[in-house]
């Protein structure tokens, strides 16, 4: 799939994020929009998965450690065919398979239950260790939030991945700079984030997290890096793609009203047309 097509998919995923959070009148659009390009590349360019056999043993795994970003994940899973398109309208509603935070037993394609921040990297490590024990060639991807890196367990897990040389694991940090209470640097500074991961024994790559080509190349570099895990620090914009949501702390966990939803979708559709 060429870059243009991937951009189109990412744009459609962004439209779905807006519709999903509007329908639910709940959810997390900001940190979902920021990760849309990353998930697009993973599901439509990189990951070996089978929507007809979501628990296929040899599949690549994805752990959404920043578990609140379910809108982007469910949108990608629907686009890929894991869940029926119309089902995304049930997001966060009673009796739905699409819980507010991901549950592996509810949603096909969800490889790990997350929601309480800081836990996903440990689980991804466990999957990567199992892959090595079983001589499987699947890869494990984990999406981390930047605010989430304030959790101590992330650094416990960072040590583990380096100690056990988990080169079948790639972490992607959605580095959008904002958390619920404000900018990371004001709430609890995580910088210099790249130096920290380096110091913990990881191979680090820094990219523009909205540049499809850079995401593809970084994932490729991670795959060829042996003897250590790789983290791709993807500089992103929270709320990316919707002008009034971009870089706004307030859109972390707020759903758009009808007017905002319509404005956002009009913008995104125009964007889609510009991609061609």
């Amino acid at each position: 799939m060429d870059t243009k097509e991937l951009q189109k998919i990412a744009n459609q995923i962004r439209i779905d994020i807006i519709e999903m959070t509007y329908e639910a009148q709940s959810g997390h659009p900001g940190g979902s929009l920021s990760a849309a390009d990353i998930l697009t590349v993973l599901y439509f360019h990189e990951m070996r998965v089978d929507p007809n056999n979501p628990r296929w043993e040899d599949r690549d795994r994805l752990v959404m450690s920043k578990g609140h970003a379910t809108p982007v994940w469910y949108a990608a899973l629907a686009e890929k065919g894991f869940i029926p398109r119309e089902e995304i309208k049930t997001f966060r509603k009673i009796n739905s398979r699409l819980q507010g935070h991901p549950n592996m037993n509810d949603t096909p394609g969800v490889d790990m239950t997350t929601g309480s921040l800081g836990q996903g990297l440990s689980a991804a490590n466990g999957m990567a260790i199992a892959g090595k024990l079983d001589n499987k060639d699947y890869r494990v991807y984990v999406i981390l939030g930047d605010g989430e890196c304030q959790e101590g367990q992330i650094w416990e897990a960072a040590m583990t991945a380096a100690h056990y040389k988990l080169d079948n694991l790639t972490a992607i940090l959605d580095h959008n700079g904002l958390q619920i209470d404000g900018p990371n640097k004001d709430i609890m500074n995580i910088e210099p984030i790249e130096d920290k991961w380096k110091a913990f024994g990881w191979h680090t790559i820094r990219i523009d997290g909205h540049n499809i080509g850079q995401i593809i190349n970084a994932i490729e570099e991670a795959k060829t890096t042996k003897g250590k895990p790789t983290i791709i620090i993807a500089d992103t914009i929270k709320g990316k793609g919707v002008s009034f949501m971009e870089n706004q702390v307030g859109w972390h966990g707020t759903a758009p009203n009808k007017e905002q939803m319509e404005k956002a979708i009009t913008e995104l559709k125009e964007r889609g047309e510009r991609i061609g």
């Binding site: 752990v63 790990m112 800081g118 996903g120 991804a124 490590n125 892959g131 416990e156 897990a157």
Partner: protein, 308 residues
């Protein structure tokens, strides 16, 4: 009477399990000599993971391994295995109902000299309030061995509570165990003593002492606190009308609470709870601590006299 620590039984059982099933993996948090997982580490180094002093990461890693068909035994002292990693056990193991076994040694007062920070007196309470979790507290080495094997076969999260010091062997090797089914060790008609863990042998001693006074006590080992054997508890209460619970745990939230829940909903009788009375422990030898905090066979005998 022979004595063996339940943690020693754990170490030996892991070796057996490791030879039978390649999917058994063991994790520890820098306590492998104390938890006895070091024997497994020697025999199956490729399936042993020392996670260092990071219980939260250990539990999360175990969860990830379980999603790929492994049967992880995550091991540490009870106080760290539960309290330190509670949120990880809740969200990464119990909510997705993953096949992780948490083997917690050094539970209760009998850790001894390390004092209050190392004496888990609330672990049963924490673990039994988590949906999908099975909670097992073996009374001796024989039952520990059998129940750990059953835990390995059970699909889903299991918490296994083990102790540091050697405790008397109660069961013959031929004894059959079933998760969720208690064992009546002694028939009686005047009073029921329902115990778990190391308090089972104290309950048996108390029953012998009471017999000399002409009081016959029914002694029951509730080795599985969750799911609890409701039928056995109701039956014995119906028979004797008086119940004493005994546990090396806070009286709140553990075996005593679980038995009271069953009885108050089904067959209310008077209950006296032997346990630590909502306080932290302190440094001392295990026997000194059991005495100071009211967990001896004499304490059980006194409770029986009060009830009769």
């Amino acid at each position: 009477m022979d004595k063996i620590a339940t943690r020693d039984a754990y170490g030996k059982t892991l070796l057996e399990l490791g030879s039978q099933n390649n999917n058994i993996v063991v994790l520890d948090a820098d306590l492998s000599k104390s938890t006895k997982t070091n024997e497994f580490a020697k025999a199956y180094p490729e399936r042993f993971f020392d996670m260092g002093i990071s219980e939260q990461d250990m539990i999360g890693t175990a969860a990830g391994l379980a999603t790929c068909g492994k049967i992880p035994f995550a091991s540490s002292f009870a106080v760290f295995a539960t309290g330190r990693a509670y949120d990880q056990i809740r969200d990464s193991i119990c909510y997705p109902n993953l096949n992780v076994k948490i083997a917690a040694t050094h539970a209760g007062l009998t850790v001894g000299e390390d004092g209050a920070t190392h004496q888990a007196l609330e672990d049963i309470s924490l673990m039994r309030s988590l949906p999908n979790m099975t909670v097992i507290t073996p009374a001796d080495g024989t039952s520990a061995k059998a129940l750990i094997k059953l835990a390995a076969e059970h699909k889903g999260p299991v918490y296994i509570r083990l102790g540091r010091p050697s405790v008397p062997v109660i069961y013959q090797d031929t004894q059959q165990f079933q998760i969720g089914k208690g064992i009546k060790l002694k028939e009686g008609k005047h009073i029921s003593i329902i115990a778990a863990g190391i308090m089972v042998s104290k309950a048996l001693e108390a029953a012998d002492a009471l017999q000399k006074e002409g009081i016959t006590a029914e002694v029951i080992d509730i080795h599985t606190i969750k799911p609890i054997d409701k039928d056995l508890i109701i039956d014995t209460a119906r028979k004797t009308g008086r119940v004493i619970t005994c546990e090396e745990h806070n009286i709140y939230g553990g075996l005593g609470s679980a038995v009271c829940e069953v009885l108050s909903e089904n067959y209310p009788v008077r209950v006296k709870r032997i346990g630590v009375k909502d306080t932290f422990g302190e440094s001392g030898t295990p026997d000194e601590l059991l005495k100071k905090y009211g967990l001896t066979s004499e304490d059980i005998v006194m409770a029986a006299r009060e009830l009769l």
